[in-house]
Symmetry: C2
Amino acid sequence: MMKEKIAIIGGGLSGSLLAICLAKRGFKIDLYERRGDMRKGKAEAGRSINLALSTRGIEALNKVGLAEQVLDEAIPMNGRLMHSIKGELTFQPYGKEGQFINSVSRSGLNIKLLELADAYENVTIHFNHRCVNANLDQNIAIVENPEGKKIEVKADIMFGTDGAFSAVRTEIQKTPRFNYSQTYENYGYKELEITPGPDAKHLIEKNALHIWPRGEFMMIALPNPGGSFTCTLFLPHEGKISFEHMETEEQVRNFYTTYFPDALKMMPGLVHDFFANPTGDLVTIRCNPWVYKKFVLVGDAAHALIPFYGQGMNCSFEDVKELDEIIEQHYPDWDLICDTYQEARIANANAIADLACKNFVEMRDLVGRPDFMHYKHVEHDLAEHYPEVFKSQYSLVTFATTPYSYALAQGFKNEALINYIIEHKLESELKNSDVMLPLLKDFLG
Amino acid sequence: MMKEKIAIIGGGLSGSLLAICLAKRGFKIDLYERRGDMRKGKAEAGRSINLALSTRGIEALNKVGLAEQVLDEAIPMNGRLMHSIKGELTFQPYGKEGQFINSVSRSGLNIKLLELADAYENVTIHFNHRCVNANLDQNIAIVENPEGKKIEVKADIMFGTDGAFSAVRTEIQKTPRFNYSQTYENYGYKELEITPGPDAKHLIEKNALHIWPRGEFMMIALPNPGGSFTCTLFLPHEGKISFEHMETEEQVRNFYTTYFPDALKMMPGLVHDFFANPTGDLVTIRCNPWVYKKFVLVGDAAHALIPFYGQGMNCSFEDVKELDEIIEQHYPDWDLICDTYQEARIANANAIADLACKNFVEMRDLVGRPDFMHYKHVEHDLAEHYPEVFKSQYSLVTFATTPYSYALAQGFKNEALINYIIEHKLESELKNSDVMLPLLKDFLG
């Protein structure tokens, strides 16, 4: 039996992973990527340089045998390390002993995926091919080749993995009764750098995600191999303290002197980078359905998240993993495959979008407050003493593959329980299972 | 001083009312309307034939001296009249004695507004001119004239009043950081007719809005002059009982025989109309901002509502009224006018969009349930006995001009109060102000 011909529009993280999964199943795959071959050039400006890889992403990479190799080059981050204005440090572990997330290079990972995809005889990668349009009823994508000529790409199944501003989705948006929303934060972000120390040593704790929470804004930093950190400043576009008031070198330097004095010392390129690097936007995109006829959206094209739960890539990889498992189960019934896929994923994508929005407030503000630190201690102790019954929302999202929608719902129950414990001053009873087990049962049922 | 030149894109209800308001202020106005002159032709298929005009809309019409004339031809509806499957009738008044909403003809009202606008020397109406594009940075709308030629329309201020699928908004959607959502109900709607009786008499109660609530679907009917009613059937697109299963005349007749037997007798054209009339979609559209440079969205172009609170036109007319008052106050500072306008209206448009969604469940399902009837009785008694302190959400929306967002918030408080009264079986105390006044104070603050 002749297997279907498949076109994948977009060769970023999701598209290249999907190409590998489908190649393993013997499909004939053509992958079209807007940009040039990143194995030969440098990464595009304005994309995040490193990303936090956690369980969902690792499980997906495992399916194509890449997890071990990727983790070998990653830097474990055991928790959040908060920097106060005075330079005091506070640490919050992400999970139990031995649980961590992993700082990985976006371009490094993308290159690994493209190399593996390219190694399959049944995969052809077309770089510098930009999708500009589609004829959804005839399984055709219109793609502009490097000579500027528009060519018709036709396949039995067409995947749109072309990111938050997906050209494929733009066409699907024109079909009847398509539900769609794009919501921008009033914040922008800018990538900056903390330089390596002598001998490529990290100047601050290597195995942590650093946060400088300042209430209405914040900076974070993730470690890179070679001793540097990639910092991201999240700041309102407009208002008293905002990007619109960072027009001169002096304004930027004063801002850092006032709010991030400890970091400033390690950021010699600050002023240059601040004006050289673009200011990015933060957008949440939701849509429904993800499938129109033979066109299927995967990854950011279906659900763009803001980055505050570190789940954008992990969620997209999980899309691919689940899609692959559904193909395993229902092939060759593509209608059933597509229906099952979107049924399984849409609610979860909406849940992690909600969680990411909620986490922004937590990161930029709450983590700097003593009452929140206390809350996190109680949560941590519950997870430690009652591991079978209590799991924090963070660990359900990050160190498990239970559906995001379950993590969202369970989080509300956890919150009620922890607030009850604090209100009734039961912290001293946390190890007393005679008191705690009935409570856990009441609240978490 | 030379007053600004203003272009209005869209000559429906909002656009023509806006033209009159601005004409009275002496601006030079060009109004572009996609359709032909409806004073000479027939109304477009697929738009609702009649609408419920209430206080907000009346106040706006008052500003241009049209309220009395419009109300003269309207049919008052004092409340909802529910039809059970067995043909039993139940009545719920909309407000106090003498409070009612008004069934008016959409095309009749639109024609009146166009005639009045046309009577101003400083207004030029261009029919059969369809906006296809815009150059937002240069105050230009590209409009196709009846000969199919694209012309550039340039003015100092450009208003987009071109409805839910606004071409002006489509251009604004391409600007950075535009927040946008379109959400479709899984329901469609179809307009049908109950014929006049002998001597143009109404065959069922004339002064009511009729509802046939059937849980997952419903039909409603609004009276027309001449004895007919325009019915609207709201039914899921897909599923067991849905439009997809209404493919044969027999299926339609059986469906009406089973669920609407009393109405069927008065609907001789049912089968013909069912297949001749289009099935409409129900969409809620929200966006933010409503202003980009000199382009300003008004009415459905800024906020498409589903029709279940009868506020689509009323909300749009209120946009125009408030905009006109803001111009009065801040002219000639157009930046301040635009900012004040969207600041004032966006939250209210979101609130009425929420209320309209909530009311769909109430109309198609709850109104047919005895416990809900009881709830409405308690609410009605509270409004009757404590008119200074208690106002129902419906009356805040329909018989007042308090902000929709206030009505939304107040509704939640009312609900808690009424549920408390019912739970504690305090119905016999409703007239006892010693019991009620403290309760009202507790719940409504």
